[in-house]
């Protein structure tokens, strides 16, 4: 949504909402899409076996513990999935808890690791475009894989080690954390009981799923139930859910997921909730941040909560919900010879308390099961973090730019006293972050929109005009009149916050994306202008050579528009094709033959 945050889109979304009385769309169970769904014009029937599976998952791994080898990937399913040795190694270490935290019973957590260099995506074009309409934070992760883990550790006297320890791990490029955890809850317990046929059946189920198109209500049959969900689009009004369960009577048959990616912010931030606003700043600015937690579940939840608290902005630096000393980036990230990198790490191994002692911001989370409220209001000094049993809290010397918002803290505290349900607390906190981020980003959106050239400067016979450059001081000047003070009552050094933000990877990522969209829009407008021209009349004044040149250029434009899926109006491309065809027809026959050949991309 960040990329679309200008006023016009906001109006557009509101209009769409208004027609539905701003209501959530509820679907009754009978209104299910057939598993194949209408293809949206996409040639779904052309998909090969495992294509559908690959749209959701890279593979499923089983990681066990071998007394001689240590952790090992026991099974990879489907068997043809490729993982490099390095990737397998990462999966092995990241799928097990790395501290003596116990974790008896079943635990779920997630990790993220770099994909090996030089990996080719065999499905390239097919997978590139289906998430075009997804919000930036829900797009496929290009350089990383996510691992979603269901770990079981139970006493078993029949085993030499005395314990059964195994993880079922879903490897995917999709950041749908809540969805994959729900999926694992359905598959993993069955798998631990019934072994490989269960995996085979689950994969077969998944390979029959519709592709994960944003905006459609998807029905996904798995293990005897149908999961129903909707992947949000970047056109949705942020903070609204489109899918609610209308009846609970069919809960044995269907599971409706109200969200596919949102974590419970309140639960995750509970141990440090006096500092949420400062944490928001630290994440926004891409500061080096480490979360030290007692278990992988807590570390990964907290890291994901941090990353998502600046939504709809995308957190552009690396983040590792669960990071171990075996990680291939361990040296790179912990070196003392350079300043700590702009990353967020979640760790559980006590060893990190020493290794990362020099990091500027450390969040220490206690055991979340102990429902003790964060008592310490004060930020702690880093030098106090020496021993393993340091108390929960935030350890930093950072001075926030914005003044502290006591209202939200009071509101949440009141909720705790009144035993307000966690979901309600979460909704309050989520809305708070959303408003804060939007107040911050709207002035930037507005300024960037002003970099777009005027409509009249677009001419069919000139190349598309360039965007104006982003000039920091010019932007700062706009803040006087149209700054965040329009939408936020928070006082403080907003200017300082912007200055710092403009230097951060998050700004860089946001601006690149915004710029790309605007350039594509210019190309599209240019293309539309071309279509409106009377090309026949134009070529009469030109030589044959120039006409051929025009045909080739138009063909280029057409392929570009199709390849990049430019946001052109309906029918524009067909119109352009007609233009091309009729120009070719006006040429001598021998030339016609050559030009009619399909363009080679």
């Amino acid at each position: 949504m960040a990329s679309q945050g200008s006023e016009e889109i906001a109006e557009q979304t509101e209009e769409a909402e208004a027609t539905h009385d701003g209501d959530c769309l509820s679907i009754s169970p009978a209104e299910e899409m057939p598993a194949d769904g209408p293809g949206d014009g996409e040639p779904e029937q052309l998909l090969l076996p495992w294509d559908r599976f690959s749209a959701w998952l890279h593979c499923i791994c089983v990681v066990g513990f071998d007394l001689e080898l240590g952790q090992a990937v026991e099974v990879i399913y489907p068997h043809h999935s490729k993982l490099t040795e390095k990737e397998k190694m990462s999966i092995c270490y990241l799928s097990f808890p790395d501290s003596n935290s116990g974790c008896l019973g079943d635990t779920q957590f997630c990790f993220r690791f770099r994909q090996a260099a030089g990996r080719k995506s065999s499905l390239g074009c097919f997978l590139d475009h289906f998430d075009r309409d997804a919000p930036v934070c829900l797009k496929r992760d290009q350089g990383h894989f996510y691992g979603y883990v269901y770990f079981r550790q139970v006493r078993d006297k029949t085993l030499k080690r005395g314990y059964f320890q195994k993880s079922l791990v879903l490897i995917s490029k999709l950041p749908y954390v809540t969805f994959f955890h729900s999926l694992l809850k359905l598959i993993a317990p069955e798998y631990f009981e019934k072994q490989e046929p269960c995996l085979e059946a689950a994969c077969n189920d998944i390979d029959r799923w519709p592709t994960p198109y944003p905006g459609k209500i998807l029905s996904l049959p798995i293990m005897g139930v149908v999961m129903k969900l909707r992947i949000p689009t970047c056109y949705d009004k942020p903070g609204t859910s489109q899918l609610v369960q209308s009846t609970s009577s069919d809960s044995l048959v269907s599971v409706v997921l109200p969200t596919i990616h949102e974590v419970d912010l309140f639960r995750c931030f509970y141990p440090v909730f006096f500092h949420i606003q400062m944490l928001w700043e630290l994440v926004l600015l891409g500061e080096a941040l480490v979360v030290m937690a007692p278990s992988p579940a807590e570390s990964s939840d907290t890291v994901l909560a941090l990353v998502s608290c600046i939504a709809p902005l995308r957190y552009c630096s690396d983040f590792r919900p669960y990071f171990t000393i075996h990680d291939s980036e361990f040296k790179e990230y912990t070196t003392r010879t350079q300043a700590p990198p702009s990353v967020i790490l979640g760790v559980t191994n006590p060893f990190f308390a020493k290794t990362l002692q020099h990091w500027p911001h450390i969040i220490r989370i206690g055991d979340m099961k102990q429902t003790e409220m964060a008592k310490q209001m004060k930020v702690k000094k880093l030098k106090n973090l020496k021993t393993l049993d340091s108390k929960p809290g935030v350890y930093t010397a950072y001075k926030p730019f914005l003044n502290k918002d006591d209202d939200i803290i009071k509101q949440l505290q009141k909720g705790v006293q009144q035993k307000r349900p966690s979901e309600a607390q979460n909704a309050i906190l989520r809305r708070y972050f959303l408003e804060l981020t939007q107040s911050f980003i709207i002035p930037l959106e507005r300024y960037v929109a002003s970099l777009m050239p005027l409509q009249k400067s677009i001419s069919a016979w000139k190349s598309p005009p360039h965007l104006k450059p982003f000039v920091q001081e010019e932007f700062m000047k706009t803040l006087e009149k149209a700054g965040p003070q329009l939408t936020s009552r928070l006082k403080g050094d907003w200017i300082g916050l912007y200055r710092q933000f403009l230097k951060s990877p998050n700004f860089d990522g946001w601006f690149r994306n915004r710029r790309k969209e605007m350039i594509q829009k210019l190309e599209a407008l240019h293309l539309e202008a071309l279509c409106e021209e009377d090309l026949q009349q134009r070529i009469q004044k030109h030589t044959e050579v120039e006409t051929v040149d025009l045909v080739l250029k138009l063909k280029d434009k057409l392929t570009q528009a199709e390849r990049e899926k430019l946001p052109v109006g309906a029918g524009t491309l067909a119109k352009l094709q007609t233009h091309i065809d009729s120009i070719i027809l006006s040429l001598p026959e021998d030339l016609q033959g050559i030009l009619h050949k399909p363009a080679t991309p």
């Binding site: 009754s28 209104e31 085979e200 059946a201 009846t247 009577s249 048959v253």
Partner: protein
């Protein structure tokens, strides 16, 4: 002076979730007849009067339960997948392809003007997948037990299939259908010689008997319409009863978690077939 808008005019996301109407050939306005009066779930001529009135008065809106899970079980290669494919896709593939784990189809109907869907879970007949089958059996409202009319052993195995499927379900809420397939492969004389055996089995398990051919399509549509109609009828009746008792008690009990629901249904494990 108009600024070039940076925004594309995309269709609203909301339109996409509006469903296409139910296919014309999936509209049921009368209760289809049973196949054999000797082994039918009931032999009434039409839908239950209460159901008809409820649908007319659109009181099913409060029912809010318009989806049923149907599982299809039976021996290896008796033609479970073919049966479903004939009905759902109107195709017949002569090549045999074993089902891995489970296949799934969703079929939408309109019964007495009310939208109604069947989730069809087509389970694997292979021994290898038997261990996982129970996962897929849960919460079924109709069980279709399939055997091969040309293979007597497959008829005998239906009792075992039923027993396995019932372990996960509440016998008072499940409708049973016993279906003989490959009718085209058997001569009329052979058929009439064997039919009584099948009817006996059906009576014993309180199932409705059907004989079909997925190759020719004989009785396939009729059979699934019957399944849809009877599950729909049972559904509406059950819901009407529930809302009646609610009205009397004047208290609506809300069960708070799905896991509780599951726990109670598990306790009432049936033992009818043992």
């Amino acid at each position: 002076m108009k600024k070039a808008s940076g925004i594309s005019s995309e269709p609203s996301a909301f339109i996409m979730s509006v469903l296409p109407p139910v296919r014309k050939d999936r509209i049921i306005s009368q209760l289809p007849k049973c196949f054999s009066k000797g082994a039918a779930l009931h032999t009434e001529d039409g839908f239950h009067a209460k159901v008809k009135t409820a649908c007319q008065e659109q009181r099913t809106g409060t029912v809010g339960f318009k989806i049923s899970k149907v599982i299809v079980v039976g021996d290896l290669a008796v033609g479970k997948t073919c049966l479903i494919n004939r009905f759902c896709k109107d195709v017949f593939d002569k090549n045999y392809k074993a089902t891995i784990g489970v296949d799934f189809e969703m079929e939408r109907f309109e019964v007495l003007g009310v939208p109604f869907s069947l989730q069809l879970w087509d389970t694997a007949g292979q021994e290898r997948f038997k261990c996982i089958a129970s996962t897929y059996y849960r919460g079924a409202q109709a069980i279709i037990i399939v055997f091969d009319l040309t293979d007597v052993a497959s008829l005998h195995h239906t009792r075992q299939w039923l027993e396995d499927a019932m372990k996960e379900n509440d016998p008072t809420n499940v409708l049973l259908f016993l279906v003989g397939t490959k009718k085209d492969l058997i001569s009329p004389a052979q058929y009439s010689a064997n039919v009584q055996d099948a009817i006996n089995v059906a009576q014993e398990m309180k199932a409705e008997y059907w004989a079909v051919s997925s190759l020719s399509g004989e009785n396939v549509k009729e059979f699934f319409f019957r399944v849809a109609s009877l599950t729909f009828e049972a559904n509406v009746l059950a819901e009407l009863e529930k809302s009646n008792s609610r009205r009397i008690g004047d208290v609506v009990k809300i069960s708070n978690t799905t896991s509780n629901l599951y726990a109670t249904s598990k306790k009432k494990q049936p033992n009818c077939c043992q």
